[in-house]
Assembly symmetry: C2
C-alpha cells in the first residue's frame, strides 16, 4: 500500500479563504478590454452597465494578489469542495508507465463541472447588489447548469440563451436547468435584436456561442435589475477558478509532491487558468519551475493556429474587445465537433502567458480524445466529459513518453467534469461515426479577415 | 461555524475491512431459498449452478458476523469510497426545522448509485473463480452500469438483459454500459427460451424485471464459464451493501452523533439493508435503539400491501423461491411509474425484520416524491435519483413534524444515487404530466393468485 491515498481530500477548513489573482504577479499584464466603438480602454462605468459592480472591480484588479472569498460563497463551496485530488493508480498500471499521474476532479457536483466555482461567485455578487436576475449564454450546457444552480440557491432569476443546436441535441441539459428554475431560450431567438438580425441573415442557423452572448448581453442591458454573467474567458472567472489550483497545490504539498508538468483542456481557458494559477505564480516569482500545457481541439485551435490580437468577444459585436489568441469571432467549429471547447478566443491571461512562452499549447484530434476518454473510464471508473478528455489524452501521451524514456515524471491534469450528458457523442465514437476535421488555412484566413482593426 | 462539517469524509484507511453480516445477529433468520420444483431448501450445489461459489457461501452464511473484504475489492472501493456523509444544513434551513438531517451519499461514482458496492464484489469473485463472464438484468439501468464498470475493471465479459421499455426510454444508460464494454440486450429477446415464450404470449410487451431475470439466468446456466449475478434482494447483496451503514456509523461516531431515525428507499431492499445493518445489529443486541423506516412507491407497495410468503423471484419461475414480502411475481407497476423500485418482492432480510416489527414501512406518491426531489436539488445542489427521492420525501416529512413539535431529532437517510439519467421523468413532473396511481385491491389479488403453494 502506497502512502499516497487514491484520493487526497483536504479538510473543509482548508478550503481557500481567498482567490489568487495571478495578474498581480505577471510582469506584463493582460491587455485591457476596449470599448468596441471608440477602441479606448473600457471604464469602470462602461463595464458596470453590463457586469455587476464588484465583478467589474475584480475584472480590472491587476494588483492585489489575494481577494477574500466571502463567507456566503465559502458556505456554498462547502457543499462540494474541497474537491478530491486523485492519484490515477489504475491508469498508471494500465499504461505501464513509471510516471505518477494526478488529477484534480471538478465533476463531483450536479452541474458536472468546475463552472460552478465561478457561477456561485457571480450569482452572489448579483444578489448582493440587489439585482433581480442575470442573463448568460451556454453551449454544451455546463455553464448554464452551474449558473441555474447558483441562482436557485440565492433566489435570483436566471435567463439562459442556449445555442440552438445544443438545446436540440441535449434536451436533458435543458431540462436540468429547468429543475433549477432557469428560463432557457434557444439562440438565436426572436426575443432580441441581435437574434432577429442573425435569424434574418441565416434563417436555418443552429446558432453559436458568439450569437448567444450577444443576445444575453442585450437582454441584460435592456432589462432593469439584470446584469450579464459569463462562464469563461474573463479575468474575474480565471480569478474564481483559482480555487482549483489552490486546492490542488495544497493537497500535493500535504504529501510533499511537486508536479513536473500541469495539463489542462482549454476552450475559453477558465479551468486551465485556475488550475495553473498558484503554480504559475511560483514560476513568475522565480520560486519554482513547472511545464504548463494547454490542450485544445484541432477543430477549434485558438492558440495553436490563432492570432494574438484584439477581437470581438461575440458575433453581435456588442461586447468589449479583448486582446487574446483568436480565430476571429466569425469562426465556427465544423458540425462534427463534439462537446465544448468551441469558443473562437481564449482567456487574455492565458493568451499573454502563452505569448511570452511561459505555457505550451497543443491541439488534439477528437477521435484520439474519445479513445483516451474510454480508456480512462474503464480503468479509473469516472466517465469524463469530452472537454476534460483533451487533458486526459495529453496526460496519457506524456505518461507513454515516460514509459519510453523511463522518466518518473509527476503529471497533474485537470479533470474538469463528467460526461453523463454526452452519451450521444460517446455513442457516435463507439460506433465509428466520429471523424476528425481541421479547419483549412483558407477558412481561418476568412475568419481572421473579419477581425476589427485596432491601432 | 458549526463544528460538524457539511461533509464528513472518513480517511481511506477507515474504509471497512469486513462486511457486516446482520443475519448473524438475527434471532430469527431469514427463511432459506427453496428449489422451485421440489420446494426443498436449495443446496449449495444447486445454487452453485447459477451463482459463483464464494457468493453461494455468502448467501448461505447466517452465522459469521463479519466477512473480510478482499484487498482487490478494497482497492476498487478506494476509487470512490469512503463516500461522504453530508449534513443537510441548507435543507434544514429551508425547512426551518429543528431536526438535524444527515444523508449518506452513494452517487459519487459514474454508475451513479450504491449498486457498484456489490457489483465489484460479485465481479471479483467471478474472476477469482476463473469464469469468462457474468449475466444479469437491469431495469432503470443503475445496476447494469455498475456491473459493466466492475467487469471492465476485472476484464470479464458482461451480458446485460435490459427491460425493453427502459432500453428504449433510456438510450443513454444503454450507451453508457457500452462505453464500459457490456453487451446489452433489450428484454424480452429472441436469444432465450424464456424470452421467446414471453414474446409469444405477449408480443408487444415492454418487458419486466422478472422476465429479464429469467433470461439472464438461462443464459448463465446454458453458457459454460458464465454465472448469474443480481443487484438486489439477495442476502449476499445486503451483505456487500453493509459498507454503506458501516461508513455512515463510523462517520457519525466520529462526531458523537446518534441518529434517532434511519430512512431509506426500498425496491429490492439492498441499499436500505446495507444502510441500517450496523445500527440494526446494535438494536438486536440490545445495545441501542433506533427507528427504521423503509419507503416504497405507492405504485409498487411490496411491504405495505404485499404478503409475507414464498414466491417466485422471476416471471419465468427458473430461480429459487424466496420468502419475502411480495405482490406476486406477475405484478407490474402501472406504466406511469417512473424510476426504479419496481420489483414485486423485497429482501428476505428486510422482510423478516419488518415482519417482526423491528422496522416500519410507508409508501409515498410519486408526485410528492418529485416535489421533494426538486426541493432538495435546489437547496442541496445534488440532483437526486427518483429512487433516492422516496427517502428524501420521508426525511422532509419527518423534519416538518419536528418543526411542529419542536423536537430536535437526528435524521439519517440514504441518498442512493443521482438523477442525471432521469431527466425525462423530471421533465414530466415539471410539466405537470406525472400522475399518481395505486394498484387496486383486485389487481393485487390477481397477482397474489399466481403465487406458488408452498407447504
Amino acid at each position: 500500500m502506497s502512502e499516497i491515498p487514491y484520493k487526497i481530500y483536504l479538510d473543509e477548513n482548508d478550503l481557500p479563504k481567498a482567490w489568487y489573482n495571478l495578474r498581480a504577479d505577471m510582469p506584463i499584464k493582460p491587455a485591457p478590454l476596449l470599448n468596441p466603438t471608440t477602441h479606448q480602454p473600457c471604464t469602470r462605468e462602461e463595464l458596470a452597465q453590463v457586469f455587476c459592480d464588484e465583478l467589474v472591480d475584480q475584472e480590472l484588479n491587476v494588483t492585489d494578489p489575494y481577494i477574500p472569498i466571502p463567507d456566503e460563497i465559502r458556505s456554498f463551496y462547502r457543499m462540494y469542495r474541497p474537491s478530491p485530488l486523485t492519484r490515477a493508480y489504475c491508469l498508471e498500471k494500465a499504461l505501464g508507465t513509471p510516471a505518477r499521474i494526478y488529477y484534480k476532479f471538478e465533476g463531483n457536483n450536479t452541474s458536472g463541472s468546475h463552472k460552478l466555482n465561478s457561477a456561485v461567485a457571480q450569482a452572489y455578487y448579483a444578489k448582493k447588489q440587489g439585482l433581480k436576475g442575470v442573463t448568460t449564454e451556454t453551449g454544451a450546457g455546463q455553464w448554464g447548469t452551474a449558473l441555474s444552480m447558483a441562482c436557485s440557491y440565492f433566489g435570483l432569476d436566471c435567463r439562459v440563451f442556449m445555442v440552438k443546436v445544443s438545446a436540440e441535441q441535449k434536451p436533458h441539459r435543458r431540462q436540468l436547468m429547468g429543475v433549477y428554475g432557469a428560463n432557457v431560450t434557444p439562440s438565436p431567438s426572436n426575443t432580441t435584436e441581435a437574434g432577429r438580425r442573425i435569424l434574418a441573415e441565416f434563417p436555418g442557423t443552429g446558432g453559436s456561442l458568439g450569437c448567444a452572448i450577444s443576445e444575453a448581453v442585450e437582454t441584460a442591458v435592456k432589462n432593469p435589475g439584470y446584469r450579464y454573467v459569463l462562464g469563461s474567458v474573463l479575468n474575474q472567472v480565471a480569478l474564481h477558478q483559482s480555487v482549483i489550483g489552490l486546492e490542488a497545490k495544497a493537497a500535493m504539498d500535504k504529501y510533499g509532491v511537486k508536479p513536473d508538468v500541469i495539463i489542462g483542456c482549454a476552450g475559453g481557458g477558465s479551468n486551465l487558468a485556475g488550475l495553473i494559477a498558484p503554480f504559475m505564480g511560483e514560476k513568475l516569482r522565480g520560486e519554482a519551475d513547472y511545464r504548463f500545457v494547454a490542450v485544445e481541439p484541432m477543430s477549434c485551435p485558438s492558440m495553436t493556429r490563432g492570432k494574438y490580437a484584439y477581437d470581438y468577444c461575440d458575433t453581435g459585436k456588442v461586447c468589449p474587445l479583448a486582446k487574446m489568441y483568436t480565430l476571429g469571432s466569425g469562426f465556427m467549429p465544423a458540425a462534427n465537433h463534439a462537446g465544448g471547447l468551441r469558443y473562437h478566443g481564449m482567456s487574455p491571461v492565458l493568451s499573454e502567458l502563452y505569448d511570452e512562452g511561459l505555457m505550451e499549447a497543443i491541439s488534439v484530434e477528437q477521435t484520439k480524445v474519445f479513445e483516451a476518454a474510454v480508456q480512462f473510464a474503464r480503468v479509473e471508473g469516472t466517465l469524463p466529459a469530452p472537454e476534460s478528455s483533451h487533458a486526459i489524452r495529453a496526460a496519457i501521451d506524456e505518461a507513454l513518453r515516460c514509459k519510453e524514456t523511463g522518466e518518473e515524471k509527476t503529471i497533474l491534469f485537470g479533470l474538469t467534469g463528467t460526461g453523463y450528458f454526452d452519451m450521444t457523442a460517446y455513442s457516435r465514437f463507439q460506433e465509428g461515426e466520429m471523424s476528425d476535421y481541421c479547419p483549412t488555412d483558407d477558412e481561418i484566413a476568412k475568419s481572421f479577415a473579419m477581425m476589427p482593426d485596432v491601432k
